[in-house]
């Protein structure tokens, strides 16, 4: 597949952006809280360091990456599988507006008025790889479209990087596969900056800083409910009650209380540890 020429892309907003490094941050729509947190964090720090963040405006990892870049005060570009006049998914209208307002752009190889069609998205993925210097896959299951972006990056001789996750998580099967096949492992923002050959910046004074970001003090949680929770996979109240040998009524109540505190989040299938305190992102 031959990606289109940069200049031939349809665009809303400022395109092309000011010269500088560009990183694509991509991943699954069904991201775990862990994946979203990593994408947002990476994008925020990279954008603050002057890297343009490229992603696909989808839900999950893509949206987290755009949001992170905007929060970092940086520029982000959304590569769309529709015409640039049609925001898909429609719920991202506000995000799209923020991207343009932040000095970034919505771009597409498809003419205005093109509706979302399944076959357009792989082509879009190629374009993302083509306009970026490096592709970072944050979370991807076995069939994720993000793997197409990674493949395209290889074909186009761009760097592919991947974020590791839990070996139990289906959302990390794809990224672990990439690492096994030689993609560079991303542990922090510095890894990506190094691949982009951006000089070490002040943001990253301590390259070996381990990502300690539990949003609460463990001491407060006397019965240790939270240490039984993971930040990628939901654990149900029933499982917790079995592990802790506590009555289910009590466990359900304590989980609600922790949720009020912002220490845990409730997902469809159970509870996960919150990675950031107080930011009640739904």
């Amino acid at each position: 597949m031959q990606p289109p020429d940069e200049a031939s892309l349809h665009a809303r907003g400022r395109w092309p952006p000011a010269p500088g490094p560009r990183a694509a941050i991509v991943g699954s729509r069904n991201a775990s809280p862990y994946g979203e947190a990593v994408a947002e964090e990476l994008a925020r720090e990279l954008a603050a360091a002057g890297v343009v963040i490229v992603s696909g405006l989808a839900v999950g990892i893509d949206a987290a990456a755009h949001r992170g870049a905007l929060n970092g005060g940086g520029v982000t570009v959304a590569v769309m599988g529709t015409g640039v006049d049609i925001v898909y998914p429609a719920a991202h209208g506000e995000l799209a507006a923020r991207i343009i307002a932040g000095g970034g752009a919505l771009v597409s190889q498809f003419p205005d008025g093109t509706l979302p069609r399944r076959h357009q998205f792989p082509a879009r993925n190629w374009t993302m790889a083509a306009i970026s210097d490096v592709v970072v896959v944050v979370e991807a299951d076995q069939r994720s479209g993000a793997l197409i972006t990674a493949e395209a990056a290889l074909e186009l001789s761009k760097d592919v990087m991947a974020v590791p996750g839990s070996v139990f998580s289906p959302m990390s099967v794809g990224t672990h596969g990439l690492i096994r096949d030689g993609a560079a492992l991303v542990q922090n923002t510095r890894d990506v900056l190094a691949a982009l050959k951006v000089p070490r910046s002040e943001v990253l004074d301590d390259p070996l800083k381990t990502p300690q970001r539990l949003g609460f003090e463990l001491g407060r949680d006397a019965d240790g409910i939270v240490i039984h929770l993971s930040d990628t996979m939901a654990v149900s109240a029933a499982e917790l009650a079995r592990k802790l040998q506590l009555p289910i009524a009590e466990v359900v109540g304590r989980l609600t209380s922790l949720e009020l505190e912002g220490a845990v989040r409730r997902l469809d299938a159970g509870y996960v540890r919150s990675l950031r305190r107080g930011k009640g992102r739904a």
Binding site: P170, S257, A269
Partner: protein
Amino acid sequence: MLATVDSCLLAGLEGRLVEVQADAGNGKTEFQLVGLAATSVREARQRVRSAIKNSALPFPLARLTVNLAPPEMRKEGSTLDLAIAVSIVLAHDGRKPPPRTAYLGELALDGAVRHVDGVLVAVRWLRDHGFGTVFVPAADAAEAALVDGIQVMPSRDLASVIAHVAGDAPIAPQPATAPSLPPSAEIELDLADVHGQEEAKRALEIAAAGGHHVLMSGPPGAGKTMLARCLAGILPPLALDEALEVAQIRSLLGELPAHTPLDWVRPFRAPHHGVSMAGLIGGGAGVAQPGEISRAHNGVLFVDELAEFQASVLQALRQPLEAGRITITRSGGSVAFPARFTLVAATNPCPCGWAGDGRRACRCTPAVVDAYRRKLSGPLLDRIDLKVNVRRVPPTLLANEPVGERSAIVRERVIAARAQELERQGCLNAFLKPARLRRHAALESAPRKTLERWAEQQGLSARGFHRAWRVARTAADLDGSDQIAEHHVLEALGYRLHDAAA
């Protein structure tokens, strides 16, 4: 010569008195049946003629007219056969029929009296309207004798009925069917047999104690159906009047077992998602028949695959959920059936069933998941107080002996909680409207603050607020506690779906 006897037809759970008048007069030999008789009743002429002849009774060779009154009421079915035959024989003999006596039953050509539906309902109605004796098909006698204050005559055949009326060979009245005592612990499916699922089990316990409706969301094969079936076993056994209400519905449908007409186990109905409107709420041609919601009266209605049901069918559940009864209007008139049930709804979280599982990736696009969930929202879900996620139980747990409380123990707690609720406020907690909630479930400052803080943080609607409040009241009642503590509120807030903050 003229003879008049009484019978009874049914419209829902209401009886309608039918006066059957036979007149044998001079003239050309013929047999006329008048009085808005539907085809099924008009065919009674052939059955009655043969039945009388084959019972070795004389059939009047005269101008015979049988009138069914009142004439404006449309009459259907074969229930009137016996009354028609008796009136003809008495008219021929010139004998006076016994007073305050009614006749129910279909005739076979050999004179045997056959089963008809709804005998229990008809006999109750006749007793309430001053009748002292009723002849019913022998097969339905045990059912009819559940009603006290009226003499039930089991009728094998036309000849024996006539012999009794003539005073030749009296029929022994059916002894009253003593309602056998409720069997102490007959539980079809025990909670203790279900592996894991502690959260859902607890939600069912709260549902049973407070009369709340429940929604379970989870992947296929997680055990939602099995859990729903357990609910009937942790509800208190039916009281006598409740059991009679259940029996009346079954009697109308002709589904009452002949020898043990009274069942103490709560009904459990699980209509398929292809069910029609008439099948679910009741209906049919002519006079409406009870539907699944009335069969589930005083029991459990399990609606599996909620999103697969037609929206209009689900909307029709609103009236009965609100009122505990359903009114259906058909050409044959308007009838009402009781329909007070606990609704247990189940759904997959998305069309493929794996959204949010975390162990297996969901294959649905966000738009599809959105559309699926939108289908689930709305007025029906607004009436469901408890919402729980049900996950697949890990295989390691399945291999072990299940540990957990037996249904009988949970039922003890449920019975105690219900008694406390009824004593305090005269109804179950699920039926508390906001004003009564404030009076009977007053919140002290700490639990109130928690509830308010949650409502603000999660953008809870007024309905959601009251829902959590009601559930907290039930959690406290299960604890035997008069006051709602903070942990009751916290627990109540745990039974909701992530995406349905309302």
